[in-house]
Symmetry: C2
Subunit: 224 residues, 2 copies
C-alpha cells in the first residue's frame, strides 16, 4: 500500500508507504507509555542516546514525584505520635501504598488505552465509575481476606491493627480504582494528554489518600 502525497495543483510531491504508517502507529503508542512512566519520549534509539540526554529526559518527573512525596512525608510527620505509640502500624505502610498505587495504575492504564482506541469518551464517566467501584469492592475484599489470613498465619499482629489494615486496604483499593478510572477521562475532557496527566498523578493522589485513611481508621479503631 502506497499513498500519494500531492500539492495544491495535484502534482506528486511524495509517497507514504505502509512502513511509514506502521512506524507512526507504534511510535505514538510507545510515546504514550513512555510518558506514563515519566520518560520524555525520544526519536533516537536507546544505544544512540547519550547518558546526559537520557538523564535529562528522566529528571523532571523524578523531581516532581520526589517533591510530591513531600505530601506523604508530611502526613506521616503529622501522625508521628500514632506511629510512635503503635510502631507495628509502620510495617504495613509500604503494602498499603503499593497496593493502592498498583490498583490505581491498573485502572488508569486500561482507561487510557480505551481512550486512545476511541472506545471511551467523557460521557461514559458514570459507567466507568460504577464499573470501577464494583471491581474495587470485589478486588479489595479478596485482598483484605488474603491479607488477614497471612497476618493470622505468619505474624503476631494484634486484632486491632489487623482490623485497621483490612479496613484501610478495602477503602484504598476502591478509591484507587475510582481515581484511576476518572482521572484519565478528566484529563481528556480538559484537553490534556491522559497519559501525561494520569500516570504519575494517580499514584501520588492514591498514596496520600491511603496514608490519611490509614491514620484516620487507626485513630477511630485503636483510639490513639
Amino acid at each position: 500500500m502506497v499513498l500519494p502525497v500531492c500539492d495544491s495543483e495535484q502534482r506528486l510531491v511524495g509517497i507514504i508507504t505502509a512502513d511509514d504508517i506502521f512506524e507512526i502507529i507504534s511510535e505514538e503508542i510507545y510515546e504514550d507509555y513512555a510518558l506514563m512512566q515519566g520518560v520524555v519520549p525520544s526519536e533516537k534509539s536507546y544505544l544512540e542516546t547519550s547518558f546526559m540526554t537520557l538523564a535529562k529526559k528522566r529528571i523532571i518527573w523524578l523531581l516532581f514525584l520526589m517533591l510530591s512525596a513531600t505530601v506523604t512525608g508530611g502526613i506521616i510527620e503529622r501522625y508521628e505520635s500514632i506511629l510512635s505509640t503503635a510502631v507495628a502500624l509502620t510495617v504495613f505502610i509500604p503494602m498499603l501504598m503499593d497496593s493502592g498505587g498498583n490498583s490505581g495504575s491498573q485502572s488508569s492504564t486500561l482507561i487510557i488505552q480505551s481512550l486512545a482506541l476511541d472506545e471511551l469518551d467523557f460521557s461514559d464517566c458514570l459507567r466507568v465509575v460504577w464499573k470501577e467501584f464494583r471491581v474495587g469492592l470485589l478486588v479489595g475484599m479478596i485482598l483484605a481476606l488474603v491479607n488477614i489470613l497471612r497476618m493470622i498465619l505468619f505474624t503476631d499482629t494484634s486484632l486491632l491493627v489487623m482490623m485497621t489494615v483490612s479496613v484501610t486496604l478495602l477503602i484504598t483499593i476502591v478509591l484507587a480504582k475510582l481515581v484511576g478510572g476518572i482521572l484519565p477521562l478528566l484529563a481528556k475532557k480538559l484537553k490534556q494528554d491522559p497519559a501525561v496527566m494520569a500516570g504519575p498523578l494517580v499514584t501520588t493522589i492514591v498514596n496520600a489518600c491511603a496514608l490519611l485513611i490509614y491514620f484516620k481508621v487507626a485513630q477511630i479503631l485503636i483510639g490513639l
Copy 2:
C-alpha cells in the same frame, strides 16, 4: 495493501488487509503495556467487559504484589527498634521507595521498548549497565541535592537524618537504574516476556533494597 493467504495447493483461502495488520500491531503493543501494569490483556473493549472479568484480570498481580510487600514489611519489622528510636526516619520511607520504584520503571520501560523494537539484545548488557550507571549517578545526585535543599528550607530534620536520607537516595537511584536496565534483558535471555517479568518485579526488588540500604546507612551514620 491486501495480502493473499493460500493453502498448500495455492488456492486462495483468505486475505489479510492493512487494517488487520494495524490492529495486530497496536494490540500487541497494548498487551505488553497492560502486562507491565499487571493487567491481563483483554480482547473485548472496556465497556463490553463485565466487572467480574475485569476483577479476575487484575486480582492475580495485586495478590502477588501485596504478598511480595510482605518482604518490605518484614524488613521494617526487623529494624523496628531503629524506627522507634528515630521515628523521623519513617517520614522518608515513602519518598525513598517511590523515587526508587519510579527510577527503576523509567529504565525498564525504555529497555522493554527497545527490546520490542529489536534495537537491543542481551549482548548489549554491558553497554546498558554502563549507561544506566552514569544516568543513575547523575540523576541521583541532582535528586539528593534538591532534597537536601528542601529539607533545610522546609523541615527541621537533623543533620544525621539528612545525611542518611541523601546517601540512601543516591545508592537507591543508581541501583534502581541498574535493576531496571538489566532485568528486562535477563528476561529476554531466559526467553520470558520482558514486559511480564520486569514491570512489577523491578518495583518489588528496588523497594526492598531501598529499605535495606536505608536501615544499614542509618545504623552506620546514626549508630543505632
